[in-house]
Symmetry: C2
Subunit: 351 residues, 2 copies
DNA sequence: TTGTATGCGTTATCAT
DNA sequence: ATGATAACGCATACAA
């Protein structure tokens, strides 16, 4: 490995002079600068970030930890975060926790030991609290996106989960549906709790009462990796659906991936969407809504989640005393996009 | 920051003893070990990876550089790479070059200066050669995925682009199409060149001759970020299409994203797919093919790309003298999945 | 079983 | 404008 000393020796200067050239710090004569630069070129010198961080105590590297890299909501969010980071002269590295607390733990450990300057993180759920506390103890600035964690005061960028869910349910009610079930994410995630509240509020507002078992909880993430063209249907989802009485005329999905699970289950049972059952969900489908303008959704501004979250993080970092400012909470609206997965309820069903 | 010395002092031992506890190296008494561990817990000690790497000259961190994080082919590939890396005790960090040579350059620089142990990289194209040469000079082991780069001998995991393209075109020919155009990725990517070859071979084999302007090149990546629900149609694509004579009855897309651009353009012009024009493409759509089983594709084994690539990389790293072994080239097959974006050509068109 | 001295590659401080 | 020295946090070689 070619070091700053190799350059120095070849240029007949001290290592300090080379360092000054690299960092544009201090005064140096045009002549030596040119000479040093030339030799750095020749020897393909690249500064060792490890050594540099060790003394500088900063890396100019930020980290984004998402929960599902195969979900277009998070990949679009990533692009927003990337743009914001680059615009401020930071590099951004990504990690994927896969909705898995253990993986999240591993990443937190890597992040802690790598001493990145800051972290944008979508926590897997409330159980992430210890991880966040660890970050806080180690004074790693972080911003939460998409999900809050009770017990942790910090900056956070959220979607309007409650409002979005209400909008979805009201859209179904407007279409005459009176038996509306919900398949939600695990209630260990704040977004799932709020979406459930939104669902319940909308029903209450219209004086509708659903059977107790009309709400089902599952993972926000596909239960199995997509490897080919066929994939088993989530068994528990099907079992839940089979025992519903009466059968719902519409289902609200907690996110886009859950919607896919539902559609697959219904297709397996040869139930038509939307003719026999309407389906709506949170989050849009990125590119895919373009070629398959099918699902009616409450679209969240994924790119903005990343961009705003990253900006908040950077501002927090660049403020000298990190934790002095009051914590910020940004809530981004969800927008109803009506497509073709909802049909008017039939009369005998809407009573 | 709490260091190994802080632990040592509190435990009344030397820093070396603490280091030995951390790394399970050398002999230490149960009692001191227990004491040291307890204090590390109490003080929330996390080893400084920077300092450690500086002396160990390795990080146990690998890197995956992809070209489009919003493309499900690459995100599924990422999941495969992640699993393979974790299985071997490595952490994996991601970067997204966005099909942008400058961004790729920035990432290579970060990677070089961060001294990761190895790199799995999908190069943006032939112009990536200098970046790879730089990696080689700095003895950073790397494996190419998805695209080769002429002039660089190295391990590489590719898809059967030529065969896949031939299969797609033959499927169209089997359906009676005689006027088949192609919208391909930039020919600066090896995959695009091979897909073009496959297209041409299939035509030749069936003694079909297309007008010269029947092949159009564009980016593999969406030309504009998806931020909302409407997005302008790629102007040059539309201009190209408008001047085709005769108008093709089928179009082959170089990848899934290009297929989306084509569908959008045709929809804008109110041309029905597949009734008026059939469309097929490379790469599947991940989750989305599940809810919109529409596009006929040559599906590549995205997960396997990542998994095999990562395994190849790790084996290369763990072999003492990296570059002694002969380079490996893995070619993964593409599978035709017939769906609904192809219709038989009408008689007057198929002549 | 445990400790001391040294070096990894860089920058800050202080000197010249 | 340039250089010498110490320090960042850790692990290796060698000693005790």
């Amino acid at each position: 490995m070619v070091t700053i000393y190799d350059i120095a020796k070849k240029a007949n200067v001290s290592a300090m002079t080379v360092s000054r050239v690299i960092n544009n710090t201090g005064k140096i004569s045009k002549k030596t600068e040119a000479k040093v630069r030339k030799i750095m070129e020749e020897m393909n010198y690249v500064p060792n970030q490890m050594a540099r961080s060790l003394v500088l105590q900063q890396t100019k590297i930020l980290f984004l930890l998402i929960t599902d890299i195969t979900n277009p909501f998070y990949t679009t969010l990533s692009r927003g975060a990337e743009d914001a980071a680059n615009r401020s002269g930071y590099r951004l590295l990504f990690g994927n926790s896969d909705e898995n607390l253990q993986k999240e733990n591993d990443y937190i450990h890597t992040i802690l030991s790598t001493r990145v300057d800051g972290l944008l993180v979508a926590p897997t759920g409330d159980a992430s609290l210890p991880h966040l506390e660890q970050l806080r103890r180690h004074k790693v600035p972080f911003v939460l996106i998409d999900r809050e964690v009770p017990g942790m005061d910090c900056d956070v960028v959220l979607g309007d989960s409650k409002g979005g869910a209400r909008t979805l349910v009201e859209h179904l009610i407007d279409n005459g549906h009176r038996h509306i079930a919900m398949v939600n994410g695990l209630s260990t995630a704040s977004s799932a709790r709020l979406r459930l509240q939104g669902y319940q509020e909308a029903l209450l507002l219209h004086s509708l009462h659903m059977p107790d078992n009309y709400v089902f909880e599952t993972s926000y993430k596909l239960h199995q990796q997509v490897t080919g063209n066929d994939m088993p249907v989530l068994p528990s989802l099907e079992a839940w659906f089979d025992q519903l009485e009466p059968r719902p005329t519409a289902i609200v999905a907690g996110n886009n991936v859950i919607a896919i699970e539902i559609i697959r289950m219904l297709r397996k049972k040869e139930i038509q969407v939307p003719e026999q059952i309407s389906v709506v969900c949170f989050d849009d489908f990125g590119l895919y809504s373009e070629i398959a303008p099918f699902m009616t959704v409450a679209a969240q501004q994924a790119y903005q989640f990343g961009y705003m979250g990253m900006q908040t993080l950077i501002e927090r970092i660049q403020n000298k005393d990190h934790e002095a400012q009051p914590w910020r909470k940004v809530v981004l609206p969800a927008e109803l996009i009506v497509r073709d997965s909802v049909a008017p309820a039939k009369d005998e069903q809407s009573q």
